[in-house]
Symmetry: C2
Amino acid sequence: MSSAHHDKPAAKFPLVRFAAFADLSIEEAEALEKLGSTPETYRRGEVLRREGDSDTGLYLLHKGWAATHRTLPSGGRQYFKIHCAGDLMGAPNLPSQQAVETLATLTDATISAVSADCLSALFVEYPRLAVLFFLTAQVERTYLMDHITALGRCNAEQRIAGFLVHVAEKANLATPGLGPAFELPLTQKQIGDVLGLTPVHVNRVLRSYDKSGHLRRYRKWIELLRAEDLRRISGLAPHPVVKNANWLPPV
Amino acid sequence: MSSAHHDKPAAKFPLVRFAAFADLSIEEAEALEKLGSTPETYRRGEVLRREGDSDTGLYLLHKGWAATHRTLPSGGRQYFKIHCAGDLMGAPNLPSQQAVETLATLTDATISAVSADCLSALFVEYPRLAVLFFLTAQVERTYLMDHITALGRCNAEQRIAGFLVHVAEKANLATPGLGPAFELPLTQKQIGDVLGLTPVHVNRVLRSYDKSGHLRRYRKWIELLRAEDLRRISGLAPHPVVKNANWLPPV
DNA sequence: CGTAAGATTGACAAGCGTCAAATACAGTGG
DNA sequence: CCACTGTATTTGACGCTTGTCAATCTTACG
């Protein structure tokens, strides 16, 4: 629990996420902090579980990046979500007999498991947190709908613009004060597997954005020089949430 | 509440959905039945709320079909989900200041509103139901991931095959014992707006399936003659859920 | 410094979109 | 029962975005 000095904000991350919906009481905050087991470290590219596995539990990402995807019979791959520090991962598998998505790290990462029992107990003891978990799931649905809109009705330029803006926001969530430059933990092939494009075409569009001055690239780093332009191109609207909604259960 | 005889199964539908996750106690079942307000009737094509509206409440679909979509600046449209009798609609909007999707009927429909207060109270009084609501949200995420996979990594034939199989299942949920023929409440343009295709191309593929004997069409009715073939073509896997998981809170 | 993974580039192909017109169909009013 | 009208479906010609294939170049890393 009190992991002293080597990793100060790790256990606190989930609070940040829920605090977007409501100011938490001391008890609620403590209950949340106790949710995860002892964090373990994983190396880049490690698979936590594969689609079809019987493990359908939850994980909490403390440090690093991870992602969920599915592999098709044809060999193609589709990424659903990129996770950064503070994300609760794997919830969609909870109701299922077998995992519905593969969960793997994108970078070296620190991750703890969250047991369904603990979550269940939390729902019983802290109904207000239960509502917040429910709200979190709805926000995730909204992100997936953004993703669907991008894949169904946007061209490659728009998809890539939206993706970069989205990841930049996530990076700033995980590392407050980071600014417009961030390390993108994905290869161009993987970006294509998020956006339903081939690596070749991802490359074409990225270089065109580079040439037109919308962004700069160095190694795996990307700096968005005209983030607002990119956001406008993407057509994505932000979805501000209501904090401390008056219908929430009392503390 | 006791709406006598004119619409017998309406209020019972939500139970069917939750019963997939756990056997409900009498009290839980009653609490669920009291969740919706008095149902109202809507006509085909009516908009319950538009993206951006300040109404972010929930609705329960008792009879008919409805769907959620978003309209893009370009005028294009993307459907996210087709709702049939028994579906709880609009939950993704709950955390947001403004609706993140437009909700409209596809056919004449009977719909009741579910207030956030009632839902909140339910979470407090019936933690087990709270968990079931959470699980429902996760299943919805899984469907959205199926949708993303279809749009990102499947061609038009596969998408349409998967869509038809999916709607056939929904139709059989809403009308048990219906069989392989059902009335599809969407125009070909709307099917395209679900699957990220143009109406022209939807037509090409549908006629080709018709010609090859995979399905038959009459008016708005579709009969899947080789449903299993279509499912195989789509590449979609079913996601069986765990019933009465041992980690659920006690009744 | 060798090797594998990733990024870049070019030529070409194909799936699906666009445009436009014809046909069928559903609903309405006479 | 029929003409009328708007909407949905069907059809064909053509083009563009994106995919495919393959080669080269760069970077990461042991």
